[in-house]
């Protein structure tokens, strides 16, 4: 089992493929047959499949979540609505759909740091964060974040003071969590758009903080 849990660069062990070239070819064939069977019967069209890939790779992404967070930072009433009914508040900004139901937003403060995982599979709020990074789906993160959250966060470069309580939230089909990170200091005069640029995907999973201005 890999010891390091860093998520940058090409050395990340969780980015390793698990199958050989031969096995990959067998999988390619299996998917090709499945796709062909479904498209030839008109169950789904190739155009639809291409559109789905395009939407999920390009349109749905952490940029959406960043807008939600930035709005909550500048608009206290919105922040309240977001903490009370996240699904509804997120939909106000036009984001919703598959895997975006049953959202709960957990807020980081000076004394509480939240981090999100899914120990069973890899539930993830697609509409606001896009597709999950590979490490999120791999067993090492899913298991270790529950057992040793501080240790895992340290490997992500996030050192938390001992006084800060770490809360790990386990996503499921019933609830998907999004972290509302702390607004960075020195951003009092920033507008919503500038603030959104500071909100990283990692800060909304809770393995990082929002960027310093």
């Amino acid at each position: 089992m890999p010891e390091k849990h860093h998520h940058e660069g090409g050395q990340n062990p969780y980015l390793e493929k698990r199958r050989t070239d031969t096995e990959t070819r067998a999988l390619e064939e299996r998917v090709r047959k499945l796709e062909e069977t479904l498209t030839s019967r008109g169950v789904v069209s190739k155009e639809t499949l291409d559109r789905v890939v395009d939407i999920y790779e390009n349109d749905l992404g952490p940029l959406n979540g960043a807008k939600v967070v930035a709005r909550a930072w500048v608009d206290e009433a919105y922040r309240q609505r977001l903490l009370e009914d996240a699904t509804k508040a997120i939909r106000e900004l036009g984001f919703g759909g598959l895997q975006g139901e049953h959202m709960v937003v957990v807020e980081n403060t000076l004394t509480v740091h939240n981090v999100v995982s899914c120990t069973l599979c890899s539930c993830y709020p697609w509409p606001v964060l896009g597709l999950p990074p590979t490490w999120y789906k791999e067993p090492p993160y899913r298991s270790r974040i529950a057992i040793d959250p501080r240790g895992v966060l340290r490997e992500f470069g996030l050192e938390l003071e001992a006084a800060v309580e770490v809360r790990v939230w386990d996503s499921s089909a019933e609830i998907r969590y999004l972290v509302l990170p702390e607004r960075p200091e020195g951003t009092e005069n920033f507008d919503e758009e500038s603030l959104a640029k500071l909100v990283t995907r990692d800060s909304m999973i809770g393995v990082g903080k929002a960027s310093e201005p």
Binding site: P13, R18, T24, E35, T37, V52, N58
Partner: protein, 97 residues
Amino acid sequence: MSGIEALPRRSGELAFHDEWERRVFALGVALCEQGEFDWDDFRKHLVSSIAENGETLETVKSEGPGYYEHWLTALEKTLVEQRVFVSPESLCRSEKS
């Protein structure tokens, strides 16, 4: 400078290793959005496929099926279950067509 431009919108980290993973992901999402099955039914198969591989919180594996292989297995099972077709290899006429 880390701004919106720097956010991995296209996932600088590999979201997919191979093209087949991208295709099977799209198949699952498209069929669910079209109402061929409920997400929760698919998810149950995904969870059990991962569990059947012996992957639990205590036993972490670095070999065997990867994430999208479980996804593929779950999708096949769901489609058979929902009678979109009888078996992945089958060429029987879809009951939904």
